[in-house]
Amino acid sequence: MELELRGITKRFGSLVANDGIDLTVREGEIHALLGENGAGKSTLMNVLYGLYRPDEGQVLVDSRPVEFSSPGDAMAAGIGMVHQHFMLVPTFTATENIVLGAELTGRGGLLDGRRARQRVVETSERFGLAVPPDALVADLAVGVQQRVEIVKALLREAKVLVLDEPTAVLTPAETDDLMRVMRSLAEAGTSIVFITHKLREVRAVADRITVIRRGRVVGEALPSASPAELAALMVGRDVRLVVDKAPAAPGPPVLELAGVRVTDPGGAVLLDDVDLTVRAGEVLGVAGVDGNGQTELTRCVVGLQPVDAGTIRLSGEDVTGAGVREVLDRGVGYVPEDRLHDGLVGSFSIAENLVLDLVDTPAFSAGPAVDRAAVARNARERVAEFDIRTSGPEAAVSTLSGGNQQKVVLAREMSRPLELLVVAQPTRGVDVGSQEFVHSRIVAERDRGAAVLLVSTELDEVRALADRIVVLYRGRIAGEVGPDATSEQLGLLMAGAQPQEGTA
């Protein structure tokens, strides 16, 4: 089946998310859709999947125009989608999830579990996608859950499979697995639209590449193109893939964790006997696949997460069990991984967000009132200093792009003297232009003498910024390496150095 998008335009108010996009996906082709976060990839796919109606343009299936008003229509036309965040019911089995919405029923309208299981097994065998049919989805590894999603689409006879950022949550081994699956599906005639912003993967697996930027197609490329060429297409100019920084001059230890253990209320161990030290003037990078204890690590350092055992010291003083206020007052800056959830109040203005944790300091107080003049002055200065692109400091912070929101968080945290900066996923959802800026500010903070604890799932980022790297795997520190470690070394540590574990 051949799929063609012709002149797709989608507007949200004054924002043009897709601007006359043309895209053709041939039968049996892996077509990569490459673009930064916010370039309009997801909007385009939601148009294709019947979730949005395009303002202009057409979708053609085998040269015949079609119109989808719901995902059901798209599915019926042979289009399957695997979302970045899986749409699975964790307490159902793989089989139940796969047939959900298209349940097989027998006599009297009862579910026919046996026939459903059989079809799941058949489909997964036919396409070489191993899925345990009776396992609860909650018990499956992320990579296997993804396979469940793919089988779900294939069972509905998808001829075109859309994979939205499929590798964001996978270990390197799982990513390799996925790529094998993609290739064998393509060989069997399924077309695949592979949405990503990772250059390496695109070059490894795609047959053709379409690059979009700011809602427009800016070029097509073949996988033989160099990463620099692709990056240049994506961002529209040459981007430094390496962060400029002098060698670190580590000082005395600022943050020391000894035997830190965190368990969730259910008893699962989230952090297991973690020891680490971050010195003044160095960046310690924490690498790992999402969900291996990074969140808990940063949260327990800033006092948001109580620890069950172990001690946390700041400049030699025990702060285990201290509240957030106290930790922040000791000169700790915190850039949380999910800025709209933890770092910003979306409905507040930029100016208000810039003083969220400073409003009770003398600089912004006028008796019991907020010193609004000081808040406004601070906002003007920070917006200028951090180049926050906005219509004005009174705009709600939720109206900003991801990159500019991140700059607001950074600007706030860096507006007081820091001994320790805790940064989690500093460039997640941040456009490439802002990424450079964010990176340079983190390095500047290090050079000023602060200790920096950097947590990121982006290996390139960790390697570019960190002076030392530790890898977290299942809440434990799996190993420490230098910033010149290869992807293979890191990948091995990230998978727990036990290759079988990757698919467990």
Partner: protein, 408 residues
């Protein structure tokens, strides 16, 4: 998200001011106006259906339909005219009595404004205070007890009684905040339960010596000393009293709290995103307790104002339905202090006019309750109002705020 706020509207350095989405917008006002009109239209149908002459005319509707329409029109006109006369101005009255309707409107509006502010304050902090009723009761009990049990000079006595009302309601509210912060108990559940406790506490006290008025036959408290009574603003027989000034003052304070104060800034942050507030080092639990204490204090003041300004004693029905009407007032006022004042005045006028309407035309005063309910129903379902009145669609609205209150 609407960002089309006129530049002039943002005051210089309004950084710490009310957050944009809460600011009253033309669209909100339009929906509110349409909701009131819609409610009056439905109310008109009810009046017509309830009118004996209209029903008599409807019996021969198919032979002479015009009669039904005319009779219905007269019935509706009479009822609404009486409503207006009872609420604002009656040509039949002259001299001081001409101010009577306005005075009654203000008397009715006073506790609604105070209670509405209480609910709105909690709501801005993400708390759904269904317990204003209980807090009103506690405020009335405390204020009245200080009013009749203590013997103090005028002025001081009144101040102390008012303070007692605030503290009584405030503690009742703070208890809810404490339970939530400590145990995670949802405030909707605890406030509803505490309403029962408060009401039964009042019933108990009204049968207790030292609280009950001799000769101990009736469920009514002792009489508040004159030194603790809120003075009448326009003199007898007009009932409007100094509680009205307290309500206006309270609106000013709430306005300042959320617009300018650091405490209000933190409370708004907790209401809008408790996770971000916690991450910024704020004590979410303590702020929730503070907010519930302030909210309960305002509701307690409403109870004190009733006991010291209107009744001069406490009965089992001292709180009426103030605590529940306060929720609708806050909703109608979009949780904005001045919106609450306007909504309180509207409902106060409906209450005052409703009495006159019943005595003049026989339309039961309960119609007012129906009108209130319909107004709020229309506002809680903005999509409905927009569909009925063919307004342009816009995302958001107080319906979303209402839903948000439940999920937090």
């Amino acid at each position: 998200m609407s960002t089309d706020v006129a530049p002039g509207q943002a005051p210089p350095g309004g950084a710490a001011g009310a957050p944009r989405p809460r600011r009253a917008r033309a669209g909100d006002l339009l929906v509110t106006a349409c909701a009131v009109v819609g409610a009056l239209v439905v109310g008109a149908v009810l009046i017509a259906v309830g009118d004996a002459r209209t029903r008599a005319a409807a019996a021969y509707f198919f032979s002479y339909p015009w009669d039904t329409v005319v009779e219905a029109g007269w019935a509706v006109r009479d009822a609404y005219a009486a409503l207006l006369e009872g609420a604002f101005y009656s040509p039949a009255l002259s001299g001081k009595a001409a101010l009577g309707p306005i005075s009654e409107t203000l008397v009715n509006a006073t506790p609604l404004v105070l209670g509405g502010l209480a609910v709105a304050l909690a709501f801005r902090v993400g708390l759904f205070n269904i317990g204003a009723q209980g807090q009103v009761v506690l405020g009335a009990i405390a204020a009245a007890w200080i009013g009749f049990a203590l013997d103090l000079p005028a002025g001081l006595h009144l101040l102390l009684a008012l303070a007692g009302g605030v503290v009584g309601g405030g503690l009742w509210g703070a208890l809810v905040g404490w339970l939530k912060a400590r145990t995670g108990a949802h405030e909707v559940i605890t406030t509803i339960m505490l309403n029962y406790v408060a009401l039964n506490l009042l019933t108990f006290l009204l049968s207790t010596r030292g609280f009950q008025r001799p000769p101990y036959g009736q469920a009514i408290s002792e009489v508040v000393d004159g030194s603790a009574r809120l003075p009448l603003l326009l003199g007898s027989p007009l009932r409007v009293h100094a509680g009205l000034l307290l309500a206006v003052l309270a609106a000013l304070v709430v306005h300042w709290l959320f617009r300018s104060s650091r405490l209000g800034f933190r409370m708004r942050a907790v209401g809008a995103n408790p996770e971000a507030a916690r991450t910024a080092g704020m004590s979410v639990g303590r702020l929730q307790i503070t907010a519930m204490a302030l909210s309960g204090g305002l509701a307690g003041l409403a109870g004190a104002s009733q006991a010291l300004g209107v009744t001069g004693s406490v009965t089992g029905s001292i709180a009426g339905s103030i605590g529940f009407d306060a929720i609708t007032v806050a909703l109608l006022g979009r949780n904005n202090p001045w919106g609450v004042v306007a909504a309180g005045l509207l409902f106060g006028a409906l209450r005052a006019g409703g009495v006159q309407m019943q005595s003049a035309t026989g339309v039961p005063v309960d119609l007012v309750g129906v009108l209130q309910a319909l107004i709020v129903l229309f506002i809680a379902a903005p999509a409905l109002v927009r569909a009925v009145f063919r307004l342009r669609t816009r995302a958001g609205g107080v319906g979303g705020e209402l839903a948000g209150g439940w999920t937090r």
